[in-house]
């Protein structure tokens, strides 16, 4: 029993990332009808927003502290960050420590701006082109984006820590009446899951309860009719693209402490997120979220030793296997609408 709970928990953080990326992909596909292979790159750029902010906050100058000496006996150089200098060691130190959560604020305008530029500058011209062209051009864009990041940040993963308070793990087992250490779970992963839930809830609420969201939902259902009503749907779709980019970016920012950001993390997640979208059903937002969590948890179950001993290698292929089965038996996915991309 405890093992099962542990696996569910383990699947949640990856599932959250899948769900957030798939949500953005589906928003873009549902509103704009564009298959965006560069969406993983947006996730990756989000993670590097966290890296960047943490680097900015750690900018420092050196002073010579006459009271200290280094191991050679020379006066020691001491680094002081500007933030600490301006705000005092306590406040400054706290801000540096909270670099990743603060990067949320930093990343939103950055990601929205990137989203706008992408949509207006490139994607817009591909609405009427075949899906294969859309895949190809965004695939090219993904390569370009990841190479730019690689140029500036190098090829190695960059460890980016969570705030001190969230380091360490939470002993779930004790709370549920199991032995201590039966189910331990890092705090930050809990934070990530909660964060994902809030974002997903926020996006759904936004679509459900605002006029803007209503128009966009109508546009997803029937673009031409909405346009006939004289509503400038294109402008709203641009904004939607910005939002989808921001969602992917936020997912990336908060993922930085879980997995040290590297330039190809976007591609790694993209392939799986596409599978998630397809399993959930092209164009279905709840489907994307559901499939994201489902596949995350399924993946973590498949990596249990008990299961691996019966079906060796299943952990490596489970997601793809599920995707293939769903595509063949139910091409609409779990919750897809009829007639979307069906032939």
């Amino acid at each position: 029993m405890d093992a099962i709970i542990l696996q569910i928990l383990n699947g949640l953080d990856k599932g959250s990332a899948y769900a957030l990326i798939a949500l953005g992909l589906t928003l873009i596909f549902g509103t704009l009808g564009v298959v965006n292979f560069a969406h993983g790159a947006l996730f990756m750029i989000g993670a590097f927003c966290a890296v960047t902010l943490s680097r900015i906050l750690n900018l420092s100058y050196e002073t010579i502290d006459p009271n200290k000496t280094d191991f050679l006996g020379n006066p020691a150089k001491v680094k002081t960050t500007y933030v600490e200098d301006w705000l005092g060691p306590d406040m400054g130190g706290a801000i540096i420590d909270w670099a990743v959560p603060l990067a949320i604020l930093f990343s939103i305008p950055v990601m929205v701006a990137i989203g706008f530029v992408m949509e207006r500058g490139l994607i817009k011209h591909f609405y009427k082109r075949p899906h294969a062209d859309q895949i190809l051009v965004t695939f090219g864009l993904a390569i370009v984006l990841q190479e730019i990041i690689k140029y500036f940040y190098g090829a190695n993963p960059i460890p980016t820590g969570a705030p001190d308070v969230f380091r360490g793990s939470f002993d779930f087992g004790v709370m549920l009446g199991f032995d201590p250490n039966a189910i331990i779970y890092p705090y930050w992963r809990l934070v990530y899951f909660a964060f994902a839930a809030v974002i997903i809830g926020g996006v759904f609420a936004f679509l459900q309860f605002t006029t803007f969201g209503m128009v966009v939902r109508a546009g997803m259902a029937d673009r031409e009719t909405v346009q006939l009503l004289g509503i400038n749907i294109d402008k709203r779709f641009t904004i939607m693209f910005g939002i989808a980019a921001a969602v992917a970016g936020l997912a990336g920012v908060m993922y930085a402490p879980i997995n040290s950001p590297n330039y190809h993390m976007g591609m790694d997640f993209l392939v799986l997120s596409f599978v998630v979208v397809v399993v959930g059903g092209m164009g279905s937002l709840p489907g994307a979220v559901l499939a994201g969590f489902l596949l995350g948890v399924l993946e973590s179950f498949a990596s249990m030793n008990e299961i691996k001993s019966i079906l060796p290698g299943i952990d490596q292929i489970i997601i793809y296997l599920v995707a293939i089965i769903i595509l063949l038996t139910r091409p609409r996915g779990l919750m897809g609408r009829k007639g979307v991309m069906e032939e």
């Binding site: 864009l141 730019i148 392939v271 599978v275 397809v278 490596q316 296997l321 293939i324 991309m341």
Partner: protein, 400 residues
């Protein structure tokens, strides 16, 4: 000639001359000159031109003709490589049985995957092939280690049986791949003045097979079968209402292109007898997509051009480092020299992928026909002066 019309035959002839003369053509600069680094005429690189040319020609038979975008073709390349290495381990170091087995195994594998994946089209087909390839890749890394030797990759060892050959040579080393005794790595160098040209057995084996593949591709393009494949791409509805079953046509194209990929994989292993799982990764599948589209999907010569272009840049462009750049711009004043080096730096050397990505985007946006369309447009610009010729060229475009 050879069942081809005049145009196609001259195209084949040009490709043959280029391929057979490649050791000369790709080494235009004297070995001691500053430009020598742009020489591509060394066996290792020339072999890759030919092998990836075959891979792209095959991919084009599927994507260029039927429009089915497979994101998992590297799986067949990988399977081909593994088959060939196993043949070297078990049977003999002759490349013929190895290559035959890789083509057959890749074909069977493609038949299985194609049969399932072709139940869907469009993006769903792309995802299905991607999923199959990723599954193969992940399995090759993990459970299938007894067959694939996992992360290390499959290699030859001294105690392989090699029924028709020897486990180890007289001097106790692993025998090398050969074609009836001619070793693949053998080459002779011809020195003419400051120039030097390498003629390698391995390259010529690849080149001949590439020409054969190219010839078969031309035949397929010009056959009624090829016409049916183009019909699938153009209008699947009309295709089925014309009494044709599109599925076996697409499957046949899929299997043929899988066999081409298997041949390429077998050749890779024949030139260098090891096979690793990374050959099957989806980025490798992406690469052949890039090659085909960059060169011109649906055209005969495009994929070969694309493969050559990408492999050339991968090997030559990536060698340009800052000191090379400084030497180029050294005639300028220092300030401008440094500025230019800084500006160019991100796009060359390790950053060549950035150039490739940008180039690919530009091609998809502005030149959907790839380099071939680019060439045609330039040719048309020159021809515009003579209206008669222009008319002829538009008339002949439908026949490609």
């Amino acid at each position: 000639m050879l069942g081809l019309n005049k145009r196609d035959f001259s195209l084949l002839l040009i490709v043959a001359v280029l391929a057979l003369g490649a050791p000369f053509i790709l080494n235009p600069f004297p070995t001691d000159s500053a430009m020598a680094q742009f020489n591509a005429g060394y066996p290792d690189l020339m072999q890759r031109f030919a092998i990836y040319g075959i891979f792209a020609i095959g991919f084009n038979i599927l994507f260029g003709l039927t429009g089915y975008l497979s994101f998992g073709h590297a799986a067949f390349l990988g399977v081909g490589s593994y088959s060939a290495v196993w043949m070297f381990k078990l049977l003999s170091m002759n490349v013929i049985p190895a290559i035959l087995l890789s083509v057959i195994v890749a074909g069977l594998f493609a038949l299985l995957i194609g049969f399932i994946s072709l139940r869907r089209s469009g993006i769903y087909f792309a995802i299905l092939t991607l999923a199959f390839a990723q599954m193969s890749f992940n399995l090759a890394y993990s459970v299938l280690t007894p067959i694939t030797n996992g992360e290390t990759g499959l290699q030859l060892t001294l105690d392989d049986p090699r029924i028709l050959g020897v486990s180890r040579t007289a001097d106790g080393s692993i025998p090398v791949t050969n074609l009836f005794g001619m070793e693949m790595r053998e080459f002779s160098t011809l020195n003419v003045g400051h120039w030097s040209f390498d003629f390698s057995v391995g390259y010529y084996v690849c080149a001949v097979l590439m020409l054969l593949s190219f010839y078969i591709a031309i035949r397929i393009f010009r056959s009624p079968f090829g016409m049916m494949l183009r019909a699938i791409k153009s209008n699947n509805t009309r295709m089925t209402y014309t009494g044709l079953n599109a599925r076996p046509y697409a499957l046949a194209a899929f299997v043929i292109s899988g066999m081409y990929a298997g041949l390429a994989g077998g050749l890779l292993a024949s030139m260098d007898p090891l096979a690793g799982a990374e050959r099957m990764q989806w980025t490798a599948s992406g690469e052949v997509v890039l090659m085909t589209i960059l060169g011109g999907a649906g055209t005969l010569i495009g994929p070969v051009l694309g493969a050559g272009f990408i492999k050339y840049f991968e090997n030559i462009f990536s060698k340009i480092n800052d000191s090379v750049l400084h030497s180029w711009f050294s005639f300028m004043p220092d300030g401008i020299e440094n500025l230019l080096v800084t500006l160019v730096h991100p796009f060359v050397g390790k950053g060549w992928h950035l150039t490739l990505g940008l180039l690919f985007m530009l091609v998809v946006i502005f030149l959907p026909g790839g380099l071939v369309e680019g060439g045609q447009r330039i040719a048309r610009l020159f021809r515009r002066k003579k209206p008669d010729d222009a008319k002829k060229s538009t008339q002949s475009t439908p026949a490609e």
